[in-house]
Amino acid sequence: MSAPANLLADESAWPLLPAERTWGTARLSLTLVTTTAATWLYLIGESVGHYLGFIQGGVALTAGCMIGMLLVLLAAGPTCGRFGVDSVAASKPQFGSRGWIVPAVLQGISIIGWNSLLIIFFAKSAVQLCVALGILGPGPRSSALVPLLTLFACAVIFTALRRGASGVSLMSNILFAHVFVGLWMLYLLVSHRWPELMAARPALASPDRLWNYTTGVELGIGSTLSWWPYIGAMIRMAPDTRTVVLPVLLAMGAPVPLLSLIGLAGALVLKSSDPAEWLRTVGGTTYAIISLAFVTAANFGTTTAGIYASAIGLRNFGTLQRRSWTTLLLLTITPVALVGIFIPELFFAKFGNFLAFIGVAFAPLCGIQIIDYFVLRRRRVDIRAMYSAEPAAPYYFWRGINPAAMLALAAGCCTYILLLNPLTYQSRGLYAYLTASLPSVAAAALVYFFASRLVIRAGRGGYSNR
């Protein structure tokens, strides 16, 4: 490949060549850690703190995160790692040469939704930081700066991502220190409030001890399954699948439970997951300023990676393949900026519910990809077929859509919602024994397996080349 083509490779959804995949273990790990560590970890920790104490909550969350990360790695890892493609492209053998739009839409809504929330968090934290430093006075006038700071954040992210994947890596290098600040914050809370932490009782705990424990595990699994949209765009930069295993399982999986402990501890002892609030209680204004700086930086790294992954996902649409990278970035970042500028409070209040429902779809998506790749295709994927939308192409199925995948996705989502309402956390059936995500993965995999028997019998889907 020519030099200019190489420069553009990480700005396209096309497969990367071995020479273009230059991220080693350290660089990938650093990027994944920075991507993972953001405000949502406090929210996850706070949710676990509603049902479990510190030790049991931390253990359940850690176990759940490790299981969830394995599922995501098994689903997207093989195809992304082998061919240097993103998560959406990796779903084409299962969903079809047009049906991949479903995972692409899920990815887009999930990433843009979450990043809008994180950018609003960023802007609010930055305002609080300025107030704490005495740059701004307290009151509604300062809050009016939230839209302006949102715009500033989007401009910085846009500028960084003009460099493609190396912009994500650059941001990670700059922001990596915040992870240690997070660990320091955790140490402070644990060391100052250990007796209270041990004595604290979760506020919303059910009388059923098993239910509480399972919910802690479920929150861990569900949180890490939401990394599906991000993972492909990052691991495609590593030279091979072997290189990505430990960074994904440790650098992406470990920070979630570890830094969520901050929110868990805060929720249990001080009834607030906001680290700025409880650090002010523990160590005064200086600690609160450090904490706010941490929160501000943390959300920046995650949003940068999210916008990049989403822009790569959009590249899979034929009409956007030839558009400039700048256009792609603007298409991805503009909705985030508009939400932050015009409807931050409304979005903050309402969109979380919608995101909870969107998150439900990633469990069945993983089940479908795992059973298709390891069992039905026996690890054989046709890279050429992934980019061909012709009716004769192997992944065309029927009108470009694989009905088996759609049916399995619906079955997995229904299974999840039947077992656990993601908004109210009201559960049914065997939830306390099985969680909701794992049966959802299993149901989708089983439905996909049996429905695919019919697809194979019809000679569709490129299975005949096995």
Partner: protein, 51 residues
């Protein structure tokens, strides 16, 4: 397919044909995945339950 995409796919197919298979997880990777994704979580769940 666009010419550059065609060239990329051809190069990847040539790598595979030349005996450099674009493999997924090797035995080393499976060991880590079983350890970190199955064994340790199960152990943690048992420990956590009795904690």
């Amino acid at each position: 397919l666009p010419p550059e995409l065609e060239a990329r796919i051809a190069e990847l197919e040539a790598c595979a044909a030349a005996g450099e298979p674009l493999s997924d997880f090797d035995s080393f990777s499976w060991c880590w995945m079983i350890l970190l994704g199955v064994l340790i979580p199960v152990l943690l769940l048992v420990i956590g339950w009795f904690a």
